[in-house]
């Protein structure tokens, strides 16, 4: 089981702040696609979000395992 956290506008769009996916290991690119499928109303912002793994920015080719902390960091639209 991998836990993924949502923040700010993404948390509101998804309607929850923590999402769990039943995998032991997944690439960030695949995690992004799974999240978009699970939360179609948030798919657009998921596509534009950065991903953090263990509190560091991570690229789509990296792997996440069940022992990692994963989070989507939504963009902001400018102030």
């Amino acid at each position: 089981m991998i836990s993924v956290y949502f923040f700010a506008g993404l948390k509101e769009a998804a309607g929850q702040e923590k999402w769990e996916i039943d995998r032991e290991e997944i690439s960030i690119g695949e995690l992004r696609r799974e999240a978009a499928a699970a939360f179609p109303e948030a798919a657009e912002v998921i596509g534009r979000s950065m991903m953090a793994v263990n509190e560091e920015f991570a690229s789509d080719s990296e792997l996440v395992t069940s022992s990692d902390n994963a989070a989507f960091l939504p963009p902001v639209s400018g102030g």
Binding site: Y5, F7, A8, G9, K11, E12, R48, S49, M50, A52, E55, E56, F57, A58, S59, A71, L73, P74, P75, V76, S77, G78, G79
Partner: protein, 154 residues
């Protein structure tokens, strides 16, 4: 002062005097403090209040990273940054950046560098409550974040 107090994301009101005392040292002849506050009017639009949300452990880690970057670029400087979360009223401080150095140039340049880097790499979001609605937008440092392909992966 403990290093862990230097870079904090917290719900309590921020204090410029506190940041000053955190970065002070006998070797410092200059301290520059930059304070981002909640502005009421932006381009004719009235803000009623703001709410900040952070990914706290990552935000504090990234603030500490910025402090290390500043110490590398301007040797001998000491940096502290406190950022507030939760609901803020007009006029309240959202972020205070303090950089102490022997000479003033490094303190001022380091503060400006911190402002830019906070926008780039620190996961903090601002929800602005206007008279006519609300939305999640850029932080109190005024420009968008993650808006052009996101921050550099480090």
């Amino acid at each position: 002062m403990e290093e862990k107090h230097l870079f904090r994301v917290m719900e309590e009101p921020l204090s410029a005097d506190r940041i000053q005392s955190l970065v002070a040292s006998p070797d410092a002849g200059a301290v520059n403090l930059f304070i981002g506050t909640v502005r009421e009017w932006t381009k004719g639009k009235r803000t009623l209040s703001l709410t900040y949300e952070a990914y706290v452990p990552m935000a504090e880690k990234k603030l500490a990273q910025i402090g290390m970057e500043i110490a590398e670029k301007w040797p001998g400087t000491k940096t502290a940054v406190h950022h507030r979360t939760g609901p803020l009223e007009i006029g309240e401080a959202a972020v205070i950046i303090g950089v102490a150095s022997a000479h003033r140039e490094a303190a001022i340049q380091g503060s400006s560098y911190a402002i830019e880097r906070i926008k780039e790499i620190v996961p903090i979001w601002k929800k602005e409550h206007w008279e006519d609605g609300s939305s999640w937008i850029g932080d109190q440092l005024e420009t968008s974040r993650y808006d052009e392909g996101g921050p550099d992966i480090d």
